[in-house]
């Protein structure tokens, strides 16, 4: 178990760097959230508790790695709840369609939490935000997530 966690630490660090460098560099408008995909795969394998812990740690690192305007703790909060949420569905994430369902709703929970808190006190058009940012990125994340799941994620999620 500890060795498996060790591998996941390495994978999370790698994904965090890819997310903040390659993905940001290559895609400008809508971006797939690779960290979220990894977190959901991790949570689907290990459940709510480890999912929440991984979400919290990865969220803090994401916050620190983000620009100076990012509120530290915000990503941690959103990802903690997302990890917990994804972990709650761990038992059913055995088929691609089920995984996609979990990934999509986990992403939705994450984005709604993140944007709700970060835009507190600011008047924004929620529909525009949902339409142009959240759903675009969420769709992108879901498609990339499906590919990742089919390539490697399925073997990771399946319990021995």
């Amino acid at each position: 178990m500890n060795k498996e966690y060790g591998w996941f630490v390495v994978i999370f660090i790698a994904v965090l760097f890819i997310q903040s460098t390659v993905v940001d560099f290559l895609i400008s408008a809508w971006k797939p959230d690779l960290v979220l995909i990894t977190l959901v795969i991790f949570a689907a394998r290990y459940g709510r508790g480890p999912g929440a812990t991984a979400g919290f740690l990865v969220g803090i690192i994401s916050d620190v790695m983000s620009g100076p305007g990012t509120l530290i703790g915000l990503g941690a909060l959103a990802k903690t709840i997302t990890g917990y949420f994804a972990g709650s569905w761990a038992r059913i994430a055995q088929e691609p369609s089920q995984f996609i369902f979990i990934l999509f709703f986990s992403g939705l929970v994450h984005d709604v939490l993140y944007f709700s808190i970060s835009t507190l006190g600011i008047e924004i058009e929620w529909w525009v935000l949902l339409q142009w940012h959240m759903f675009g990125s969420l769709l992108f994340t879901t498609i990339v997530g499906l590919l990742v799941y089919l390539l490697v994620g399925r073997r990771v999620v399946e319990k021995e």
Binding site: T21, A52, I60, M65, I72, A76
Partner: protein, 268 residues
Amino acid sequence: MKIQTYLSLLKRPVALLLLYILLSVLLMQTGDNSALRGIRWTMLQVVEWIDDVQAGFYLTETVMKENETLKAENFDLRMTRQQMRELYHENQRLKEMLDFSERASLKYLLARVVGSGPETGIRTFILNVGSDDGVGENMAVVNPDGLVGKIKAVTPGQSQVQTLLDPNFFVSARLEASRVVGDVGGGGDFELALNHIPTNIPVEPGELVLTSGMSRIYHPGLKIGVVTEIKEDTRDLFQEILIRPSVNFRSVEEVFVVLTPLPEVAGK
């Protein structure tokens, strides 16, 4: 409640969730302290460095692609420039020839040199005009510099010119100053001989040699060349005179075929 009891509570996922939420909220409240700013600054430097490396790779690739494109463009431009130079020179030549053609009273047919004979030296040219264009045997061939030769053979689409440099070519010639008539021939190596000029006739280097008009082929007054050397031997009846052809046979590209026949030929 003992510490072990609290720790055992953390084994429950809900308790963990609440703990992390609490910690996250606390971080949001107090997150902007100097220690965190330092960590964040360090992390950003690392990310920025990776970005720079990545941008460097991208830049190198872009520069290489751009370099290839520019090389191709450069080649194209050089080729175009070369073609333009060729066209410019051709234009100059044709303008000169047009000017020559307009000034002259004879009827000319412009022809392009498309080949030369298989023999050594420039003894024959192939022209892109033939009997279909009105070209016939023994017609004079000239260019603005002077006499080139005569038509030796004709096909419907092409004709062969025997040039002044052919050793078998002879033409009646006249010295411009003394008006004395001799004959030019026996050429070779871009030099001609003016024969049968008596030794008592004064000849100076640089004097023009023209066609005499005593011919059924060549109109009078066509430039043949310029005297370059006189070998005078009082024991001989005639002088040895060398002349340089006025036509530069190495660079002939277009010529005129003289279509107007000489009066006596026309009379026939």
